[in-house]
Structure formats: structure tokens, C-alpha cells
């Protein structure tokens, strides 16, 4: 009996340890990624100089006298994400209002499944469709020699960030206390006015979180953008062939060496820092939101 008890005690302690280790994995992984990003990314920045690296307007990594300025990539990522958000947020928000407030049960389920499926489509499939349908369409609509440009990337990204925006916004809209809406209706507002003037403002922090999540997705997307953006290190222009931060890494990584390769890691570090700032902001928005409501 005593022996069994001791064995049991051992198993308990052991499993306690096992679960503790499993629990620590996420922390360990984040630390590992952060440390490696900085170790790999800093040497090139130190060699090139932070100012020349971030604000340099020319990226010519394979030239005889290589230049490593990533301002074109930063601006392209910025404008690409901005464009996707400007186009995606209205559609996403309207879809969320439909799903949360206006949809008949059956139809709502259908639209909801559609949103879930959109989230599940692999990015290379988006890239394929973009390459074969969207790029020729953009070229013929605007009379361009090649449709692989920032606009095509923005359109693809817009579709890709829709699910993030919709799913988070729907949760936020569903969480609006029904008393708010009832009060508004009782005061004589129509349903539409209630949804847009009461429900949406009340759910604003959740909606903002969805938008920030979408921004993160748009900034981090590599493959789909790579296939439609044309991949030339130009300063951004709607109809110009451009490179994003992500695609700058992906397009040269396979053959780069020496300082060029290190510079690619530095680009990754810049992207990583952006994403971390975005994450910190998102955490702030979500926490702040849950405090100032009610």
C-alpha cells in the first residue's frame, strides 16, 4: 500500500514536470525566434549602417558595387497593406454586420462557412489565381504591358485579410450587450441606425483588433504576393512592379551569400520588429477594450 502510494506520488510529480515543460514551450519558441532574428539580422545592419539600410532608396544586391537600401520594400509593404485594409475593411465590416445582426439563420451559416473556407485556402492558390486571372485582367483594364504590380498584390491581399477581419468583428458585434440595441430601438431608431450608430461604435475595440490582425496577415504574406507583384525593387507605385519586405527575402534567399544573405536576414529582422510592435499594440487594444466597455 505504501509502495503504491509512493509510486503514485512519483507519477504525479513526473506528470507535473511534463506539463510544466509543455507549458513553457511557447515561451521558449518565442525567445528562440527573437534571439535568432537579432543574431542573424544585426551584423549586416551594423556593416551597412542603420540609416543607409532603412532609408537607402536603391537595392542592388548583385551589382558590382552592391547597395542595400530597403526603403522601397518598407514603403511597398506599407502601401500594399494600407491598400488592402482600405478595400478589405468596408467589405469585411459589412459582412460582419450581416453575419452578426441581419442574416437569416440559414443564410448566415452559409456565409459563415464561406468566410471559414476563405481562411483555409492556401496562399499559393491565391497566388495562382492572382497570376492567371487577376494579373492579365489588370493589364487589359489599365492598358499595361504587364499586370504584375502593386495593385494586383493589393487585390489579392484584400481577399486574404477578409476572414481575419470578419471573424474577429463578428465576435465583437455579437458581444455588444443587447440592452444597448434595445434602448436605441425603443428611442425610435430604426434597426439599420441601431446597428451602425450603436452596435459598431460599441464593438469598436474588437473591430480594431480584427483590422490589426488583418494588417499583420497582409504584412507577413509572402508567396501569394511574390506571384503577383512582379518582384522588381522599385519605389512603390500602383502600376509598378514592386517588392514587399517578405518577397525581398524569399526571392533572393535561395542563392544569396555573404553580406547579401546577411542583409536578407536584416530585412527579416525589420519585418519581425514591425510584427512584434503590431502584436504589442493588439494586446493593448484588446485589454484596453475589455476595460473601457460597460
Amino acid at each position: 500500500m505504501k509502495k503504491a502510494k509512493r509510486a503514485k506520488g512519483f507519477v504525479e510529480t513526473f506528470m507535473n514536470g511534463v506539463f510544466f515543460v509543455a507549458g513553457m514551450t511557447a515561451i521558449f519558441c518565442v525567445l528562440l525566434i527573437t534571439v535568432y532574428m537579432f543574431i542573424a539580422g544585426l551584423p549586416a545592419i551594423r556593416q551597412i549602417g542603420l540609416k543607409d539600410f532603412l532609408l537607402g532608396q536603391v537595392w542592388a544586391s548583385t551589382a558590382a558595387e552592391p547597395q542595400y537600401g530597403i526603403l522601397p520594400f518598407i514603403l511597398t509593404s506599407f502601401f500594399g497593406t494600407l491598400g488592402a485594409v482600405i478595400l478589405g475593411v468596408p467589405v469585411g465590416l459589412l459582412t460582419s454586420v450581416f453575419l452578426s445582426k441581419m442574416a437569416p439563420a440559414r443564410l448566415g451559416k452559409l456565409v459563415n462557412s464561406a468566410v471559414e473556407l476563405l481562411a483555409g485556402i492556401p496562399s499559393v492558390v491565391y497566388g495562382l489565381i492572382g497570376m492567371t486571372v487577376l494579373v492579365p485582367l489588370v493589364a487589359s483594364l489599365f492598358g499595361l504591358p504587364s499586370g504584375a504590380c502593386l495593385l494586383a498584390a493589393i487585390l489579392v491581399l484584400m481577399v486574404m485579410i477578409l476572414p481575419s477581419i470578419v471573424s474577429v468583428s463578428v465576435t465583437a458585434l455579437n458581444a455588444v450587450p443587447p440592452e444597448y440595441e434595445e434602448a436605441s430601438l425603443a428611442l425610435g431608431a430604426t434597426k439599420t441606425e441601431t446597428y451602425f450608430k450603436v452596435s459598431i461604435p460599441a464593438a469598436r475595440s474588437g473591430i480594431a483588433a480584427g483590422v490589426v490582425l488583418g494588417i499583420g496577415r497582409a504584412m507577413g504574406e509572402a508567396m501569394a504576393v511574390m506571384m503577383v507583384a512582379g518582384n522588381v525593387a522599385n519605389m512603390p507605385g500602383l502600376f509598378k512592379s514592386v517588392r514587399f519586405l517578405t518577397t525581398a527575402i524569399a526571392s533572393e534567399m535561395s542563392y544569396a551569400s555573404g553580406l547579401q544573405r546577411q542583409a536578407l536576414f536584416s530585412i527579416a529582422l525589420v519585418l519581425f520588429v514591425f510584427i512584434m510592435l503590431l502584436n504589442a499594440f493588439l494586446n493593448r487594444v484588446l485589454k484596453g477594450g475589455s476595460q473601457d466597455e460597460h
Binding site: V91, T95, P122, F272
Partner: protein
């Protein structure tokens, strides 16, 4: 009602329907187009042959096999880790701050772009651990990437197990691990299975994280060990290579159709598992 208000009440609902319609339309166009262009390209010989430039044979068998290998190894590692972490968070951890930190880092992991996973995977597994470009490196990278998915869904479902069950078991003298093993885990099977399916979906669709870790080998390995220790492209990576590097759109659409069918099936399975396996409390 004045005209302005009337217009407001007419136009906005129309816009709402338009927005939702556009979302559905986009999905229908994408799925329809991929299946319409891809299904005719699919044939038994394409599915069962190894691609060769010299013999001018198109085939996607190695990619299918590689995808299976990567899914298998990744899930085998990430499932115990993720479920363990979720159990730790809901059952074992007592320190509020530590729980907060773990949840925050899980959120961060979910937000990191896959290309960064690819780079770190390449630095850590391919170079530091000396594994080289192989399916093991790729699978390990995907383990880190899918960890948040498993932790979150399992945690959600663990939280729905009523506290009274645990209290009852404790009152009967059961020890913690016994409670977890016989009560908590079986009750949250739906979350674990759903998380697993979602993770498989992410693995199947992933390309950027695998490009520099698992590489893009096109050979069908002779043994399981050989497969795991040599470079190999999964379906998504192969789609990227055939379309973007080789410009072979026919095979590209065939692979896309296979991916699409997989995504549809996994989506249905996830729905089914979260509904049918759910226990009523």
C-alpha cells in the same frame, strides 16, 4: 421620416447585403475556377507518377507522399506538446502572471509570418542542428508554427469542462494526473480533434516556411528514413515551384485542385468533429 433618413435606411442594408454577397462571390469564383481548371488536368497517371524533365513526365506522387510525411511527423510532435501546454494552463498552473505570459507568447507565435518561421527554421534546424534541408527540419518548423492552433482550441474546450466534475473527482480522492487522464482529456476530445484538423489544414497549405527548410526535392524516396532525411517538396511548395519557376500552369492547376479538395474535406471534418464529438454538460 425625412428623405435623408429614408435614404440612409435603404442604402446601408443594401450595402450590407452587397458586402456579404461579395465575400461569398469571391469564394465561389476562387473554388469554382480552381476546380474547373484543375479537375480536367487530374488523371490517374499524374497522381501516381514521379515528375521527370528528361522523360517529359508530369507527376505529383512525390509531393503527395511528402505532404503526408510532413503532416504525420508534425502532428505527432505538436499534439502532445500543444495539448500538454493547454492542460498546464487550465489545470496545473497557479501563477496568474505565468499564465498571462504563456498566453501572450502563444498569441505572438500565431502572429509571426510564415516566412520568418522558414528563416529561423533554416538557421536552427538546417544549420545549427546540422539536419540540412530535409523533411525533418520542415516538420519541426511547422511544429512551432502550429503550436498556437493546438493550444488555443484545446484550451477553449478544456475550459468548458464543468469545474464540479473536477471537484467531484478530487473529493473522491483522485490525484491530479488521474483526473486529467480519465476525466478532463476525454471530455475535451472535440477541441483536441478540431485543433488537430485545423493544424493539418495549415500544414497542407504552408509554403513559405517549408521552402527553405524542407526544400523542393522532386524525388520519391525509397524508404521512410530516406524520405525524412532528404529534401522534398510538399504539394503547396510544388505548386509554387511548378507555376512560378517553371511556368507549368496545367500541373499547377491540378495541384491546386488537389489542395482545394483537401481543404474542403478538412473543413468539413473540423465542423463535424466540433459538433459530433462535443459532450453536453
Amino acid at each position: 421620416m425625412n428623405t435623408k433618413r429614408k435614404a440612409y435606411n435603404c442604402i446601408l442594408p443594401a450595402l450590407v447585403f452587397l458586402g456579404a454577397g461579395l465575400t461569398v462571390l469571391l469564394l465561389v469564383i476562387i473554388i469554382g475556377f480552381v476546380l474547373f481548371k484543375g479537375i480536367p488536368e487530374l488523371s490517374w497517371s499524374l497522381l501516381t507518377s514521379v515528375p521527370s524533365v528528361i522523360r517529359k513526365v508530369d507527376g505529383i506522387l512525390p509531393y503527395i507522399v511528402n505532404t503526408l510525411y510532413v503532416v504525420l511527423l508534425s502532428i505527432l510532435i505538436v499534439l502532445p506538446l500543444g495539448v500538454g501546454a493547454a492542460v498546464y494552463l487550465t489545470e496545473y498552473a497557479k501563477n496568474r502572471r505565468l499564465i498571462g505570459i504563456i498566453e501572450f507568447t502563444t498569441e505572438i507565435l500565431a502572429g509571426i509570418p510564415s516566412i520568418i518561421y522558414g528563416l529561423v527554421g533554416m538557421l536552427v534546424f538546417n544549420q545549427k542542428l546540422g539536419l540540412g534541408g530535409c523533411l525533418i527540419s520542415g516538420s519541426l518548423t511547422l511544429v512551432i508554427m502550429t503550436l498556437p492552433t493546438i493550444i488555443r482550441t484545446t484550451e477553449e474546450s478544456l475550459k468548458t469542462v464543468p469545474q464540479s466534475y473536477r471537484e467531484g473527482a478530487l473529493g473522491l480522492g483522485a490525484a491530479k494526473w488521474h483526473i486529467v487522464r480519465t476525466l478532463v482529456l476525454p471530455c475535451s476530445l472535440d477541441g483536441i480533434v478540431t485543433g488537430c484538423i485545423l493544424a493539418i489544414g495549415r500544414i497542407v497549405g504552408e509554403s513559405a516556411a517549408l521552402l527553405f527548410t524542407a526544400g523542393c526535392g522532386k524525388v520519391l524516396a525509397q524508404s521512410v528514413w530516406r524520405a525524412y532525411t532528404s529534401s522534398g517538396a510538399t504539394l503547396s511548395v510544388a505548386l509554387y515551384m511548378t507555376v512560378f519557376e517553371e511556368g507549368n500552369f496545367d500541373v499547377g492547376y491540378a495541384i491546386a485542385a488537389v489542395l482545394m479538395v483537401l481543404v474542403l474535406v478538412l473543413n468539413l471534418l473540423a465542423k463535424f468533429s466540433s459538433k459530433k464529438l462535443k459532450r453536453k454538460f
